[in-house]
């Protein structure tokens, strides 16, 4: 549990960081953000980065701001920062609830939103949020800045559009309209564990029926994504149990479940049905988005 030797860099400006990154990228130099994934991997000697570019001394990366109908989240914004109100309801309520499911509090004070997106674990809550809401990814290198849409961002298990020498400097989430309803449901073996399956749903009602629906599923496939078939099954219907069941069944039918030694495809598929239905029910139960306490959220 002692990492292999590495060279440690601690730039204080973004440009400096990108310049170092450009130099060390070829040798698999890595960005160190919260370190909650990378450091354990190094301690287990599953990762051997010869260079670490620690971005924690770059204050400009630690900010969130609301701009042009979006919430921009900088590369050093921690999970725990998103558990507090950000002045952009109902989105901030959604983020606060989701954050409470990520790991445990000490980890949340270090781990970053963008680090989760960069790491792209199939069961990352933030990847589910980004996929469901349609995030925009601002990626920079010493050569310049590009913006990637969610369609092009996720490329497989722990694979993203971020290339060598690049940094995800900011992720932008579209704000939710005031009348949006949202619901999240996750099942994991223990509190704080990675999800075996989870779903996030946002709904807008028009004249008593679902006008617009987003249904995202995470932890079940290579990366979280919206399930268009499930959304289609809901739009135009009254937001009742029968409609939720139909949408959930659709989601379960179309996913391509991950399997591992403990969890077979059937289990995951059935779990997707459960979490989608429960997320939809939670959306209706949440009519006024309110950040719930962690204990409520778990029970």
């Amino acid at each position: 549990m002692k990492p292999a030797p590495f060279k440690y860099h601690r730039p204080t400006t973004l440009d400096e960081a990108l310049a170092i990154l450009a130099e060390v990228a070829e040798e698999d130099g890595r960005i160190l953000a919260g370190g909650q994934t990378l450091v354990p991997m190094m301690a287990l000697r599953l990762a051997y980065p010869p260079h670490l570019v620690d971005i924690n001394a770059i204050p400009e990366l630690a900010r969130t701001r609301v701009e042009d109908g979006r919430l921009a989240i900088g590369a050093l914004v921690r999970h725990a920062d998103l558990q507090a109100p950000l002045g952009c309801p109902p989105l901030d309520g959604l983020l606060a609830e989701v954050a409470s499911h990520i790991a445990h509090y000490p980890i949340r004070t270090r781990g970053t939103f963008c680090g989760s997106l960069a790491n792209a674990d199939p069961a990352s809550e933030w990847c589910l949020v980004a996929a469901t809401l349609g995030a925009e990814f601002v990626i920079r290198s010493a050569d310049g800045t590009r913006s990637v849409g969610v369609e092009d961002y996720f490329q497989g298990v722990m694979a993203t559009a971020i290339g060598p020498g690049e940094m995800l400097v900011e992720a932008r989430l579209p704000l939710l309209p005031a009348d949006s309803l949202w619901g999240f449901y996750e099942f994991s073996r223990r509190a704080g564990d990675f999800a075996l399956g989870m779903a996030l749903a946002t709904l807008r009602l028009e004249g008593g029926v679902v006008g617009e629906a987003r249904i995202g599923v995470g932890g079940a496939e290579e990366h979280p994504r919206r399930i268009a078939e499930a959304e289609a099954a809901l739009v135009g219907r009254a937001p009742d149990e029968a409609a939720f069941r139909a949408a959930a069944a659709k989601a379960a039918a179309v996913i391509d479940p991950l399997e591992d030694h403990a969890t077979d495809g059937t289990y995951r598929r059935e779990l997707v049905e459960t979490v989608v239905r429960r997320a939809l029910s939670a959306a209706m139960a949440h009519r006024q988005a309110r950040p719930r306490t962690e204990i409520e959220a778990r029970s």
Binding site: K2, R190, A262, Y267
Partner: protein, 773 residues
């Protein structure tokens, strides 16, 4: 002597101040000047022949002092059995570094010694081992393979029986037959293992620091293995961050640091990391039982016939076949059982070696036996309460001898009133109300269930322990014991007993333990024996010191001994109010070798005391649980948990509560979460805490504890029984039963742990195991 009421009081723990102020000293905190750090290169294969080991690159790394393979230590003895030689099992012992073959992923292949832990790990990465794969055996219930040419993986068949089994089954009204499995899990202390070896050439003494559990026994074993006289070996226990049976046994690493300390002439430090811990420290529990029970029309047990398969893992370690032997000896639990036969296939597999873990053999057999009782009740229309009550041994039958053995002793239950404890627990749990509530909730669509399980524990394994009580000239008291502390509150308990007997304040007592250089003998801390054995020995020693103090005081105070007592460290007259008094320190001064007043008495206000016992004590308990199943996810939540336990006499009830609550949390791990899984090629899949799931505060409910003292042990003067294993003992049993109730499928749970994935398959009516199982 007046009752002082110190025994039985929930006094604060004496050992806490350094621990809660961050000034404890655990193995990793121990450092010696010029020490080297050891790193073990472990097998990446579950079963393979070692073709070659290339350590040149590792040796060449700056900072590396030595790299050893088996070829470098041809004289090293395999890790020996604690209870001494055993010819039949000897070939199955583990070499400290693998010789021709490796047998599990994690098997030590080479040892690197370097100037820092970092360099040692870098160098270990550079050791290249070439393997030739051999077929793996991963299940004890699969046909045995070859351990070595001509030697079966079934090392032995353990068996115990009495009575005519065929006749009993022929006469049965009903035969119940179950096939039950307990998963592979173990004690996972927060502090991993650690060993620091040091050879003091000036005194010709070899020291092992970071010892735990059984320092004296380990010293004897090390003497045998290293060919040294035991007076030239000393073990030192520091703070221990949890033992649970696995910590403090001798492992290859302990021997390696000692051999290296001697050969390399520098202290050698090894601290296990968590990944190593999960593949190198003893596993436990994994057994499959094919059990049959014969009963009469009233549901009374006539006979049990049990064939089980014990998954020992890759080698037989220090315990030999102890867990399998006790599995035979202790399965019957609290019930009358006229005829019995147990046969256990003790088999080697290509997994981490197994041994004892808190409540060894009882966690397993309580699950198996209580499943059987539930099934009998169901088949005959008896409630879980009635079927058990009908089979309980009665208070009048105590002491009750069964012609079985466990831990090398005949099984003799010393005392107990099982029916009384069950009644008290039912009342405390409000069993009838709970049942009505369950029915209501089930009718409303919830999957909830309540269940109970009854168990007998064992504790206080003898035969003998000693303690030395010393009062110094300032009046401070030291109790030197051969006991050990794994964090359970040993110092506090021993101080309480000494304080009560001697008549001093318990916080003026310093309790020494885990040091072979302070006392010649010691039992350590295992099998819930420390309190029973060491506390009784302490009481004996303290009583002798007291007598000696009063004898001297009588002379000093010119008073009859009968008129004297010791209160708060002073000898006082009981017949005169505010009369003269003499401090114990003063008496100690008068017993100095040169003191005039000594008058031919042995110097020193001190004495040894011994406690001998022929039998262990058998505390007993009942556990009750309410669980709720989420049929869609397969998740199980424990809503309520009660542990009723008769401890004979509690020296410090708060500490007993702590033992029970902690034990329960571990039991819940084995019931729902913890499992060492392996791939079909024998790769361990649970080597981090992300895959080996220990329940956390969020998963563990508050435990309700009903502590009774209805059956003091007749085996010792204090009447005490042990507490260490009661919280964990029947958790697998009671949770399985409660889940059956919740899902409304009797007997559904045949396997622990009950994972969501497995439970979903049961709910879907699928009995076939998952692909990887």
């Amino acid at each position: 002597m007046a009752e002082r009421g110190i025994i039985g009081k929930s006094l604060p723990r004496l050992e806490d101040p350094p621990l809660v102020t961050g000034r404890g000293r655990f193995a990793a905190d121990i450092n010696f000047p010029h020490q080297l750090h050891m790193r073990i290169v472990r097998s990446a294969m579950a079963h393979a022949r070692i073709v070659s080991i290339d350590a040149e690159a590792a040796r060449a790394l700056p900072g590396v002092v030595a790299v050893w393979t088996a070829a470098d230590i041809p004289d090293a003895s395999p890790v020996d059995f604690r209870e001494g030689p055993n010819e039949k099992l000897a070939p199955y012992r583990q070499h400290v570094l693998a010789r021709e073959a490796v047998r599990y992923v994690g098997d030590p292949v080479a040892a690197v010694f370097a100037e820092s832990a970092y360099v040692a790990e870098d160098a270990a990465d550079l050791v290249a081992v070439e393997y030739e794969e051999l077929p793996v055996v991963l299940a004890a219930d699969a046909p045995p393979g070859e351990f070595s040419p001509g030697r079966s993986t079934e090392a032995t068949l353990v068996r115990q029986d009495y009575g005519d089994i065929d006749a009993a089954f022929a006469a049965a009204h009903l035969v119940v037959e179950l096939d039950l499995s307990v998963g592979r899990h173990t004690g996972v202390p927060m502090e991993t293992r650690g060993a620091i070896g040091r050879y003091d050439a000036a005194r010709d003494v070899l020291e092992l620091h970071g010892a735990a559990k059984v320092p004296h026994k380990n010293r004897d074993s090390l003497g045998r293995m290293l060919g040294r006289d035991v007076t030239g070996i000393h073990l030192y226990e520091s703070h221990v961050g949890g033992g649970f049976g696995v910590r403090g046994e001798l492992y290859p690493e302990d021997i390696l640091v000692l051999m290296a300390a001697m050969r390399l002439g520098r202290p050698v430090k090894w601290i296990e990391d968590r990944r190593e811990h999960l593949m190198a420290t003893n596993h436990s529990r994994q057994q499959r039982h094919r059990i049959r029970a014969a009963v009469d029309a009233e549901g009374r047990l006539l006979a049990i016939d049990n064939e089980f398969f014990h998954d020992q893992g890759a080698y037989i370690r220090t315990h030999g076949t102890r867990v399998a032997d006790s599995t035979c000896g202790l399965l019957p639990g609290p019930y009358r059982l006229p005829v019995y036969r147990a046969r256990g296939h003790f088999r080697l597999t290509n997994k981490t070696p197994a041994a004892t873990y808190r409540s060894p053999s009882r966690y397993e057999t309580n699950f198996v036996r209580e499943r059987v009782m539930d099934e009998i009740g169901r088949r005959l229309g008896l409630s879980p309460v009635d079927v058990r009550r009908r089979n309980f041994l009665a208070k009048e039958e105590m002491p009750f001898a069964r012609p079985l053995a466990a831990l090398g002793e005949n099984v003799v239950y010393d005392s107990g009133d099982y029916a009384l404890l069950l009644d008290k627990a039912l009342a405390a749990f409000r069993w009838d109300e709970v049942q009505a509530d369950m029915a209501r909730r089930r009718a409303a669509g919830e999957m909830v269930g309540a269940a109970l399980a009854v168990f007998v524990e064992k504790s206080g394994l003898g035969p003998t322990d000693g303690a030395r009580v010393i009062v110094d000239t300032t009046g401070a008291v030291e109790v030197v014991t051969g006991g050990a502390s794994v964090g359970q509150g040993f110092e506090t308990v021993v101080a309480q007993v000494c304080a009560e007997t001697l008549g001093v304040d318990y916080d003026r007592i310093r309790v020494t333990h885990g040091r072979t250089d302070r006392i010649e003998y010691g039992l350590g801390a295992h099998a819930s024996r420390a309190t029973v054995m060491t506390a009784n020995a302490t009481a004996a020693a303290a009583a002798r010191v007291r007598a000696k103090a009063l004898d001297v005081a009588a002379e000093m105070m010119q008073a009859p001994i009968e008129a004297l007592d010791i209160v708060a460290g002073r000898v006082v007259r009981t017949d005169i109010e505010s009369g003269p008094s003499v401090a114990l320190g003063e008496i100690a001064r008068n017993l100095a070798p040169s003191a005039k007043l000594r008058n031919g008495r042995e110097p020193g206000l001190s004495s040894d005391g011994w406690f001998d016992t022929e039998h262990q004590t058998y505390p007993y308990g009942v556990q009750m649980a309410v669980v709720k199943v989420d049929p869609e996810t397969g998740g199980v939540a424990v809503e309520r948990m009660l542990v009723g336990y008769d401890i004979g006499r509690a020296i410090n009830p708060m500490l007993v509560h702590g033992q029970i609550a902690g034990g329960f949390a571990q039991g819940l791990g084995g019931a729902l979460y913890e499992e060492f899984r392996y791939s079909e090629t024998g790769d361990p899949l649970s080597v981090t805490f992300a895959d080996y799931l220990i329940p956390t505060a969020s998963e563990v409910p508050e435990v309700e504890i009903l502590l009774t003292e209805d059956a003091p042990s007749p085996c010792n003067p204090l009447g005490i029984k042990g507490a260490g294993e009661s919280g964990i003992a029947a958790v697998g049993a009671v949770i399985a039963s409660a889940v059956d109730e919740a899902i409304g499928i009797p007997g559904a749970i045949t396997e622990l742990p009950i994972t969501p994935q497995r439970l979903k398959r049961i709910l879907a009516g699928i009995r076939r195991p998952l692909a990887a199982e």
